[in-house]
Structure formats: structure tokens, C-alpha cells
């Protein structure tokens, strides 16, 4: 146990969800007789879930800031139909379509952000309205019909990395991507060791780093192998690539930039943030807007994959995205959550879905199981917190980013905490 701790740094609990994910994969691999970890299935998994995971990235920021967005499915559908019609009727090229979609997302986001941030209506209400509004708008604009999208546009939803360079039997770009990733893992481990040494903190022993890098690299290389050796014409899927890019970008923003800090600050304590000079209205506006832009993107990817935009695209997506975020360790009250955590939460759901499907379990049972998983994951978290023990789903923290919640065994903190009701009550309420 101790050595596991050493390898993964910090506490093993932070990796609870990763272990759960790996355990799930292994379980399904065993139960399905090896049908889970195949090239085709992995590509399916990515293609079929990337849009939910993209939504989860936006959603985690919304939830960290203390809000929620119920409209993402409808926004995605609305953006999808507008883009499809724009390309069919106005003859826009595929990139023009994407641009229009993102722009539309921004406009919708500004609309919702305005109500949430500047009028002060709870996001639950604003986006509940948005859910109805944009679903209706989708069906109004599309006259409840299905509108096909042109071939090049489908690439963003169902395309693969192209074949380039010498014939190696593998997809070269995928292999290259995998190798780059491994190089990055090695580089960042070296850098973190250097940093620890510089700050004067304890540097883990060499073998710990070696095992850690070895394990991660092996996983990456295995995935690379799977993706690079699929049936001809397939390789690492484009939606997966978009997702990866977004994870990197938003992981960076949430973790390393002032904007990211401000989102956590507003979610953690809005009043304190404001008195520290954070413009909370702007932050709220931006997270809502960002969510709608990502929703529009997710909608377009889905349309690209299904080759047409329809009136019932995106139904129920908001719930999948929200579930992913909460399984990934975010707090309903805001201030807590990570991008990576949400992605892993989303992957847990995706693998469950996929595995149960492979096992031939019906949609009814699948929903029941998914519901229970969500409940149990969060209940476990809550239970641990009330016990004053560290949280299990407050996973994936210091190593991936410093934004985990500090453990709060509430009883241990100074019992004589003062919280007088006085003028400040009046002030904070007004």
C-alpha cells in the first residue's frame, strides 16, 4: 500500500476514481471475453462519448462557480440545426459552418450569462428556461425535420487521423501522438522532481518516478497500439483529438491562470472574492458563455457523427454531463472540482454504458445501474466528509493540479469559531 502511495503521490484516495475506472475496464474485458479493449470498441467509446465529455469540461467550470446549466442539450441541438441549415441553404463551407455554430453558442451564452450574472436570476431557472427555449428554437428552425450535413463537416464527428508517411502497418500520426505524449509524461515528471528539489520539498526516490512513468507510458502506448491498428481507414478519432485539446486548454486555464483562480474563488465564497477584487459578475458571465460555446461545439460534433441534425438531438445530455462532473468529485455548493476529475467521471459512465451494452444488458438495467453508480459515488464522498475522513472522489488533485479541496475534518478546526450575526449579516444579505 505504501509503495502505491509513493508511486501515485499524495494519497491513494485521490486516485480512487482512476482505480475504479481501470477496475471497470478490466471487469468488462473479462466479462465480455476481450471485446472491450479492441480497436473498434475503443474508437466507438471515444466517438460516442466525446460530446458528453466536452460538455463536462464546460459544466465543471459552471458547477465550480456555483451554478448549473440544464440547457446544454437544447443549445447543442439548436446550434446543430442552424449550422446544418446554414450549410445546406446558404452554401456555407464546413469551416464557415463551424464558425457560425461557435458564434451562435457565444450569443446564446451571452444571453444566459446576462440573466445569471447581471440580473441575478439563479442559473437553474435561466437554463431551465433555456432548455425549453432552445429546444423549441431547434424544432422551429428545423420545422421538426432532420437536416443532413455535407461530407466534409462529418469529419469533425466521425473522422480519423489521416494516413501519412511511410507504410508501417500502423497509423503514423496516431503513433506519433502517442510517442509525444509519453515524452511529455517523462518531461513533466523530471520537471516536477526538479521543482520539488528547488522548493526544498521532499523528492520521491528514483524508483518511484520510474515505476510511475513506466505505468503511465505503458497505458498510453497500449492505447496508441489499439488506436493505430484498427481496421483500415480508422485511427485516433478526430472528436477524441478535439476533446484532448480542450482538456489541455481548460486544465491549464482552470489550474494555472488568474481567470481559473477566480472561478474557484467565486464558487468558494462570492462575497470574499468580491472584496478581494474579483469581478464576480464577469466571472459568472464568462463561465455561462463558455458553457454554451462548448455546447454548440458538442452539438456540431454530434451532428457530424450522425450525419444530420434532428429535432431530438441532445436530449438528456445535460444530465450525463452533470453526472460526470459530480462523479468526478465536484461539490454541489460550488468551489470544488477539476476538469480531469470530470473527464474521468464521464469515462466511468461511458465505460459502464459501453460494457453493459457489450454484455447485452438492456437500456432499462443500464439506466438503473448508472443511477446507482452516481448515487453511491457521491454518497461515499459525503459519508467520508461527515466522518471527517478525506474524500474519495475529491480525487486527482495535487498531481494533476492543485485545485482539490483541502480536507476538511470539520470537527478538528478551531471549535471556538466565531460567527456573530451583526451588521455584516445585513450587509451580506443586501
Amino acid at each position: 500500500m505504501n509503495s502505491i502511495k509513493k508511486i501515485f503521490g499524495g494519497d491513494t484516495r485521490q486516485f480512487g476514481m482512476i482505480f475504479a475506472l481501470i477496475a471497470l475496464v478490466i471487469f468488462f474485458q473479462w466479462q465480455t471475453g476481450g471485446k472491450t479493449l479492441t480497436s473498434g470498441n475503443m474508437m466507438n467509446l471515444f466517438n460516442g462519448n466525446s460530446y458528453i465529455l466536452i460538455l463536462a469540461i464546460g459544466m465543471v467550470l459552471v458547477i465550480i462557480a456555483g451554478h448549473i446549466d440544464l440547457s446544454v442539450g437544447s443549445v447543442a441541438a439548436f446550434a446543430g440545426i442552424v449550422v446544418a441549415i446554414a450549410m445546406r441553404d446558404w452554401g456555407l463551407p464546413w469551416f464557415g459552418g463551424i464558425l457560425v455554430g461557435l458564434l451562435l453558442g457565444a450569443v446564446i451564452g451571452a444571453w444566459q450569462g446576462f440573466w445569471v450574472a447581471y440580473v441575478g436570476i439563479p442559473a437553474f431557472i435561466v437554463t431551465l428556461a433555456g432548455m425549453l427555449l432552445f429546444r423549441g428554437a431547434n424544432q422551429f428552425v428545423g420545422k421538426s425535420n432532420t437536416v443532413p450535413v455535407p461530407e466534409p463537416f462529418q469529419y469533425i464527428g466521425s473522422g480519423y487521423l489521416p494516413e501519412v508517411g511511410p507504410v508501417t502497418g500502423y497509423n503514423n500520426l496516431t503513433v506519433l501522438l502517442g510517442l509525444l505524449l509519453v515524452a511529455f509524461v517523462i518531461y513533466s515528471e523530471l520537471r516536477s522532481r526538479k521543482r520539488l528539489a528547488r522548493v526544498g520539498a521532499e523528492v520521491p526516490e528514483m524508483w518511484v518516478s520510474l515505476v510511475k512513468v513506466g505505468l503511465i507510458s505503458a497505458a498510453i502506448l497500449y492505447a496508441t497500439y489499439l488506436f493505430a491498428t484498427g481496421r483500415p481507414g480508422t485511427s485516433f478519432p478526430v472528436p477524441g483529438l478535439i476533446l484532448a485539446a480542450l482538456v489541455v486548454i481548460f486544465g491549464f486555464i482552470s489550474n494555472k491562470t488568474i481567470a481559473g483562480r477566480h472561478v474557484y474563488a467565486v464558487g468558494g465564497n462570492r462575497h470574499a472574492a468580491e472584496l478581494s477584487g474579483v469581478q464576480s459578475k464577469k466571472v459568472n458571465f464568462m463561465v455561462m458563455m463558455n458553457m454554451s460555446i462548448l455546447a454548440a461545439l458538442a452539438g456540431m460534433i454530434f451532428v457530424g457523427r450522425s450525419t444530420a441534425s434532428g429535432p431530438f438531438d441532445g436530449v438528456g445530455w445535460e444530465l450525463d454531463a452533470i453526472a460526470a462532473v459530480f462523479i468526478g468529485g465536484a461539490a454541489v455548493t460550488g468551489g470544488v472540482g477539476t476538469v480531469i476529475g470530470s473527464i474521468i467521471g464521464g469515462l466511468v459512465m461511458a465505460v459502464l454504458n459501453n460494457g453493459l451494452q457489450l454484455l447485452g444488458i438492456g437500456a432499462d438495467m443500464t439506466q438503473i445501474i448508472k443511477g446507482l453508480v452516481l448515487l453511491v459515488a457521491v454518497a461515499f464522498d459525503v459519508y467520508n466528509k461527515t466522518q471527517g475522513k478525506p474524500s474519495i472522489t475529491g480525487l486527482l488533485t495535487r498531481n494533476f493540479g492543485n485545485r482539490s479541496k483541502p480536507d476538511q475534518p470539520s470537527e478538528v478546526r478551531s471549535p471556538d469559531s466565531e460567527q456573530a450575526i451583526s451588521t455584516k449579516e445585513v450587509i451580506s444579505k443586501s
Partner: protein, 512 residues
């Protein structure tokens, strides 16, 4: 009745994961006495009371509790209340939207044929309110009465449960002098009716005034029990017990080095944020010199916080008129970022709900008001963050195993140090400290005073808002008094006394 013991807690030990909050604590309370429990923040006072009231159920702790001659094993608060022990927490447990009567009988509603008997509720409420000296309509909502009265409602609620032993946790922390005195009188009244009280308080003068005996707890251990009359206890004696050493002076030595006036506010008028015609600041004028500590004295609700916050980037109220001059130049500070930019810092009186993100850790809190300073190419430099937080931890002597700890884990005094370091890192010219030592224990107070004086000697201006007059008198070079939103007086350190301040704090200029 004398010397008849009502409660005895023997060798109570309570552990949390990794922390021994109480070890072998014993306390004996005589019937019909007011027993004060003193100790620094984090000493274990509240934990002990939670054990007593059953919040930590039997089995969670070791040791025994003997109440009215019998050993008791409380499973929860209900069982301790059934035995006659009622605890009134510092954070009042009243529901703002319910009436006084509804609150008093909440969870205990008298019924007739399964329906709440409102006549009985209101009748009994009136009786109970009379006992605590409160005259209000029983149907008044809690949110419509002041904190002082709310406290009385809590006590009335306790009385409705035929209380034998009343526990009050910091009962006067949020009250002004008049309300505090009323509460203390009420406690003496209860005592004469044979109800024992345990009170936890940081206000040593109140303890000296009212308590019959005092148990001092330090670092989770009961140090000693003093009998006020027999032992001739005074404040210094209590402090010595609490900190384990005597503080020669409660304020560090400090010789002010006053510079020129650099900050001035003229004719500052601000409207109430929700009541249109009410003014929270009425043409206030004040100034601060470099190196000067200026006190703002006023009763709770006089408008001290409102004035300070409206100056700090208009973060409170509706700005009506007024000018701010910094170094002789007029400036307009319309938002908090502008105020910070102009060199202002405001430390709120309410750390938990306005001052800190309790989910955050020490290091990121420290830099949170000045992230720009450690950001290069869009990236917040975490090494720098750690280094800076460490620096402040050392120079302010914040007690924590590491700056990676969550701020929620710290005691009040250490949290305040983190808040101070956050604002010191913005390198302000003027620091406005609103109740900087509220809820902070004696030892940490002394350190905070030292920090304030150090800032002043560095040439910064400091405004200290405080409800504790001795604190203002000990710290300030000059004091403004505020009454109902207006500045009613300006007194230099030499001329100030509790009496002169009190006079100006309670009457407007014209009346005086």
C-alpha cells in the same frame, strides 16, 4: 444549595483523527452558579460542551458525566435536553422566517388532537418572554428583531424546555453593551432561580463581573478551577491561566511616527442599499496620516462597517456624494479592484462569510488579492506562491504545519493572520481593519496588535474599527466616534477614555 454539585465531568478525553482535542478534562459545576469556561481558541472549550450536550454521543469520548447525581450517557441533543441541559450556540439556531413563538416551540409543539394548539403556543410564549424581559408580539418574525433580542428568544426557548443547566457559547459576542448587560443581568436572574449556567466567553470583564467560578482549559486540558470570590480573581489572573504566562502588557510597546495626511475623505454620504431614504453615512469627514493608527468607535450598527466598505470601492450601499483624496489628489474608486489599485485594503469583520474562501488553502489565499504580481505569461507561478506564503507564515508566525493546509483548519487567530498576509501582499498604503480581533484569543490578539503597529511604523495608515473600547484606546493614535452614520467626534489618544468615547458614541453631536 451551596456547594451542591449539579454537574461533574470526569476525565473526558475526546480524539479526532490525528488530534487529541480533549485529554483528561474534568470540571465540576455547583448548583445555582454561573461557571465560566475560559481558554484560547482551539483550547477545546466548545468540544467539551459538545460532549456535554450529546452532540458527540456517549462512546465517542471516554470519561464520565454525572448530572444531578446520576451518571448520564447522552445519545444526542434530545437526550441531553430531556435531562435539562440546553446549549445555546454562538451561531444562533433560529429560523429567520418563522415567528418568535414558532421558533420557541419548534420541535416541541403542543398539540391538541394532533393539531398545533396555537393559543397555547402564544400564551406560553408571552409568559416565557416575560421571564427573559422581552416584549414583542409572539408572531413577529425572527428576522425582524435584533441580535440581542434573538439571543433572548434562544434563552426563552431553553426555559420552555425546563432547563436545569444552561450552556451559553459566547453569548455576548454579537451584542452591543446595552444588550450584553441585559443578558448578563438575565443570567444572574436565572441563577437566583436555581438555574445553573456554563458560559464560554472571551470577554474577561464580563466573566469577572458575573461568574462564580472559572475553569480554565488550555491545549485540551483542564488547567485549574478558580472561585471568583474566594480566590479574588481578576482579568490578569485569568489571562495568566489561559496563556500559561503573564502578559506584562496587553498591547506591545509602540511609539508612533506620524507623517503627513495622505488619505482624506470629505462629505462622504452613502444611502442604504435597500431602504431608499436611509443614509448609512451622513457627510462624514476623516483623514489618516502616514504611520497613524486611527480608531473608529461606535456601537454595533452605527455605520462603521458601512462607511469603511463604501470607501473601499463602493462595495456597500448607494454612493450619493463625497470625495476621496490620496496624497492630495482626488480619486474616484468605483470598484474594489480600483480601490486595491489605489492602495486600499479592507479586512472584513466577518472572516468566515466575507473574508475567506474556506475551501481554499493558505498559500492561494495569501496571494488571492494580488494574483497579477505572481503571474508571468498568463501562468500563475506556484513556486512563487509557495515562497510568498511561506514568507508571511514566518513573519506573522502563523501556526500551521504547512501553507498547503486548508484555511478552514486554522483557528480564528491564525485565519486572521492569513487574511492579513493576503492584504499585506497587495502592498497597501491604507489598511482598514474591521474588528481585527473578533473571536480571537488573548495570545493571538497580542500578536495581531504587534502586526498592526509594525505596519504603522512602516509608514502605512491603518484604520481600526472595533467594538472593544480598551482595544481602541490601547492601539489608536486618534479615534473617531460614529453614531447613526455620522461622525460625532474626534479624540486624540491623550484625551480619550472609555467614558468620553461612550458619550460620543451614544449621542449625536447636537445632543451632546
Amino acid at each position: 444549595m451551596e456547594n451542591h454539585t449539579i454537574l461533574e465531568m470526569r476525565s473526558i478525553t475526546k480524539e479526532f483523527p490525528g488530534v487529541k482535542a480533549l485529554s483528561d478534562v474534568s470540571i465540576t459545576v455547583r448548583a445555582g452558579e454561573i461557571h465560566a469556561i475560559c481558554g484560547e481558541n482551539g483550547a477545546g472549550k466548545s468540544t467539551l460542551m459538545k460532549v456535554l450536550s450529546g452532540l458527540y454521543p456517549y462512546g465517542d469520548y471516554s470519561g464520565s458525566i454525572i448530572f444531578q447525581g446520576e451518571e448520564v450517557q447522552f445519545k444526542d441533543i434530545r437526550s441531553s435536553e430531556a435531562a435539562g441541559i440546553v446549549i445555546i450556540h454562538q451561531e444562533l439556531a433560529l429560523i429567520p422566517e418563522l415567528s418568535i413563538a414558532e421558533n420557541i416551540f419548534l420541535g416541541n409543539e403542543p398539540t391538541r388532537f394532533g393539531v398545533i394548539d396555537w393559543d397555547k403556543v402564544n400564551r406560553e410564549t408571552l409568559e416565557l418572554m416575560a421571564r427573559v424581559g422581552l416584549s414583542e408580539d409572539p408572531t413577529t418574525k425572527i428576522k425582524d428583531i435584533g441580535v440581542g433580542k434573538q439571543q433572548l428568544v434562544e434563552i426563552a426557548k431553553a426555559l420552555s424546555k425546563s432547563v436545569r443547566l444552561l450552556i451559553l457559547d459566547e453569548p455576548t459576542a454579537a451584542l452591543n453593551e446595552t444588550d450584553s448587560q441585559h443578558l448578563l443581568d438575565l443570567m444572574s436572574g436565572l441563577r437566583s432561580k436555581g438555574i445553573s449556567c456554563i458560559m464560554i466567553s472571551h470577554k474577561l470583564n464580563e466573566i469577572e463581573q458575573i461568574a462564580d467560578s472559572i475553569t480554565i482549559i488550555r491545549d485540551g486540558k483542564s488547567i485549574e478551577t478558580l472561585h471568583v470570590k474566594e480566590d479574588g480573581v481578576d482579568e490578569d489572573r485569568i489571562i495568566r491561566g489561559m496563556v500559561g504566562r503573564s502578559l506584562e502588557s496587553r498591547f506591545p510597546d509602540h511609539t508612533p511616527k506620524l507623517g503627513e495626511v495622505f488619505f482624506e475623505v470629505r462629505d462622504w454620504t452613502v444611502g442604504h442599499p435597500s431602504v431608499p431614504d436611509r443614509l448609512v453615512a451622513k457627510g462624514s469627514n476623516f483623514h489618516v496620516r502616514r504611520g497613524e493608527i486611527v480608531g473608529f468607535a461606535g456601537l454595533m450598527g452605527a455605520g462603521r462597517t458601512e462607511l469603511a466598505r463604501s470607501v473601499f470601492g463602493r462595495s456597500y450601499g448607494n454612493f450619493k456624494s463625497g470625495q476621496i483624496f490620496i496624497n492630495g489628489k482626488e480619486v474616484t474608486l468605483k470598484s474594489v479592484p480600483q480601490a486595491i489599485e489605489a492602495g486600499l485594503a479592507y479586512v472584513t469583520e466577518d472572516r468566515k462569510s466575507l473574508g475567506l474562501n474556506l475551501l481554499d488553502d493558505i498559500k492561494s489565499t495569501t496571494v488571492s488579492a494580488n494574483l497579477k504580481k505572481i503571474t508571468r505569461n498568463l501562468v500563475v507561478d506556484k513556486d512563487e506562491e509557495f515562497r510568498i506564503a511561506e514568507e508571511y507564515r514566518k513573519s506573522l508566525r502563523t501556526k500551521t504545519p504547512s501553507v498547503n493546509e486548508g484555511v478552514a483548519k486554522l483557528s480564528g487567530g491564525n485565519q486572521q493572520k492569513v487574511v492579513l498576509s493576503k492584504w499585506m501582499f497587495t502592498d497597501p498604503e491604507l489598511l482598514i481593519l474591521d474588528e481585527p480581533t473578533r473571536g480571537i484569543d488573548v495570545g493571538a490578539k497580542f500578536e495581531i496588535y504587534g502586526i498592526i503597529q509594525r505596519l504603522a511604523s512602516q509608514g502605512k495608515g491603518v484604520i481600526v474599527i472595533s467594538s472593544e473600547l480598551p482595544e481602541l484606546l490601547g492601539l489608536s493614535d486618534r479615534i473617531y466616534t460614529i453614531f447613526e452614520g455620522a461622525i460625532t467626534g474626534e479624540i486624540s489618544r491623550e484625551d480619550a477614555s472609555q467614558e468620553s468615547l461612550m458619550k460620543l458614541m451614544t449621542a449625536s453631536k447636537k445632543a451632546a
